[in-house]
């Protein structure tokens, strides 16, 4: 299947008083229609900035410093703001963690959806209402016609997120970037939304980038997983294989840190230390100061090692014979 989204060597920087902060450093991946990939990392890993960069939503002092983002063959990096705006919402859409911040509290849900519709299409009021009703029904909102005239505050957190998803789906975009869309929700509601999103991706062939700190949520949803650390992808591969048989010590550490991975009451296998500041990255591999496998080799930044359908950025990958793997 051909890729709807092709990202190559994407770099995003922020100019700060203390120097250039490289939030996203040389990220490459591709996404085909109907595929869901999980972009996993802890806070400060650059996963959200990656999402914003894909939509060209980086404002000064930040800038996309290099690389390429091709959406349906069109290059987004370097596109004028006007052209970007025409594609945003119609070809690529974003869902955020906090739907209350993205919905206007003064307008009814129907008005906001009609506005989103009118941004890219000319539709009659009646046709717009029908389309919006249909969109709300699709994301599982009960009595959607009546709910069009409700205000955002009249919805629960989970329902608001469904509205945000419905708006994102209005134009049937090729790609949806979802930034921690279920983090603020209760587990029972999170499970509903995840199930909903999965069936939407299947049904409409929408490709999705699911950004999350939670490996477990991503595991139930994504076919491929990208693990980010300090602005770079450290491991990438099919979800089941990355989770069952991780290569990068950071991925291993994340999985081991989960309470479910250890018998109750027994100390968890923790990763020591904390994510370094992006302004003061250690030389070589950024994970090296926290890594149990680190050797003097790690003072040089490792390149991506590719092995069939997966890759990692480490000299001492787990689960591979301990000889140094040439890149």
């Amino acid at each position: 299947m051909s890729a709807v989204l092709e990202v190559r060597g994407l770099r995003t920087e922020f100019l700060t008083a203390a120097g250039i902060l490289r939030a996203v450093d040389d990220i490459s991946f591709s996404l085909s229609a109907g595929e869901i990939i999980g972009l996993v990392g802890e806070s400060g890993s650059g996963k959200s900035v990656t999402g914003f960069s894909l939509l060209g939503l980086i404002d000064p002092p930040g800038r996309i410093a290099g690389g390429s983002v091709r959406l349906n063959g069109a290059e987004l990096v370097g596109m004028t703001p006007g052209e970007l705006r025409r594609r945003r919402g119609r070809e690529i859409a974003m869902i955020f963690q906090d739907p209350i911040a993205t919905l206007n509290p003064l307008l009814t849900v129907g008005q906001q959806m009609a506005m989103a519709l009118a941004a890219h299409e000319r539709v009659s009021t009646k046709a717009a209402a029908d389309r919006c009703t249909e969109a709300l029904a699709r994301v599982g909102i009960p009595s959607p016609r009546a709910r069009l005239s409700a205000y955002p505050h009249e919805f629960s957190g989970g329902m608001r997120q469904r509205v945000a998803i419905a708006i994102a789906l209005l134009h049937r975009p090729a790609v949806i970037v979802a930034d921690e869309p279920t983090t603020a929700l209760d587990v029972s509601i999170q499970a509903q939304i995840v199930a909903e999103m999965r069936s939407l991706a299947r049904e409409f062939g929408v490709a999705m980038i699911w950004i999350s700190h939670d490996l477990a949520v991503v595991s139930g949803l994504a076919s491929r997983i990208l693990v980010m650390y300090a602005g770079r992808i450290v491991e990438e591969g099919p979800a089941a294989r990355v989770l069952r048989d991780p290569r990068h010590p950071y991925t291993c550490g994340l999985l081991d840190s989960l309470p479910a991975a250890t018998a109750p009451g027994v100390p968890l296998r923790q990763i020591p230390g904390a994510m370094p500041s992006l302004l003061a990255l250690p030389p070589g591999c950024a994970f090296q100061p926290r890594c149990a496998c680190a050797t003097p080799d790690c003072a040089v930044a490792p390149e991506m090692t590719v092995e069939r359908d997966r890759s990692w950025r480490c000299f001492h990958p787990a689960g591979v014979a301990s000889e140094r793997v040439a890149s």
Partner: protein, 300 residues
Amino acid sequence: MTEILSAAPAPASPLRLFWREFRRNRLATAALAVTVALALLAAFAPLVAPQNPYDLAHLSLADARRPPGYLGTGGYVYLLGTDPQGRDLLSAILYGLRVSVEIGLAAGCIALTIGATFGVLAAYAGGWIETLIMRAVDLQLSFPAILLALVLAALLGQGKAQLVTALVAAQYAYFARTAYGAAAAERRKDYIEAAMATPLGAGRVVFRHLLPNCAPPLIVVATVQIASSISLEATLSFLGLGLPVTEPSLGMLISNGFPYMMSGRYWISVYPGLMLILLIMAINIVGDQVRDQLNPRLRR
């Protein structure tokens, strides 16, 4: 044992960061320099002023109402001219500045203390105490401060203490309102709940935790209110309700010269007036910058 975590080297103190940002605004820095200079002039007026305007022995009615640059009988040049009593206007302005700053600061600080205490107390205690204090404050805020000050100054009579009392009564409500707003927001934060859960006494929670965290908005209001105390005092003195004639403030100097404005002897009113404007503008510019820096909503 978990490993000993150490943080990065200590960054610059908050005060230093504040000053670094403040300095970036040149106008505000200049205004701060003017404010400090005027405060110093006021504090050391007796040493700086060429003449003691209160010392009747040095005054001669022959020198009254002379224009700037006039060479007086004592062989002394009156740089800014003289007033109707034959006082050196420059000296009179410096002494007047001293009185104005003194009263403004005293009124501002006392109003801050009383208002902040009331406001924080209302927010912390809640219930009928809150209702009582805040309704009283709202009621007072519905009258213009100048009206209240006028009435009080008229009732209490002349004198520094009376004037400060009138100004405090007119202005504490602004501090109370601000302190209440800040404290009501802080009160709901976890660290106050944590302090109460220890449990720590009410006094400690209020004075060690609540009050310091309400300081930023109070500092902003304080700078504005000191400026407004000074202008309020000038207004009252101009209207003859402020200080006795023996201690002329800037407002009274303006008032003294007012009858002569139309006869071409502009300097008697204009120079004290300019001084008053300079002082109030400088304080307000400093206050604006402080507000911009302390208000997180205006942060870029």
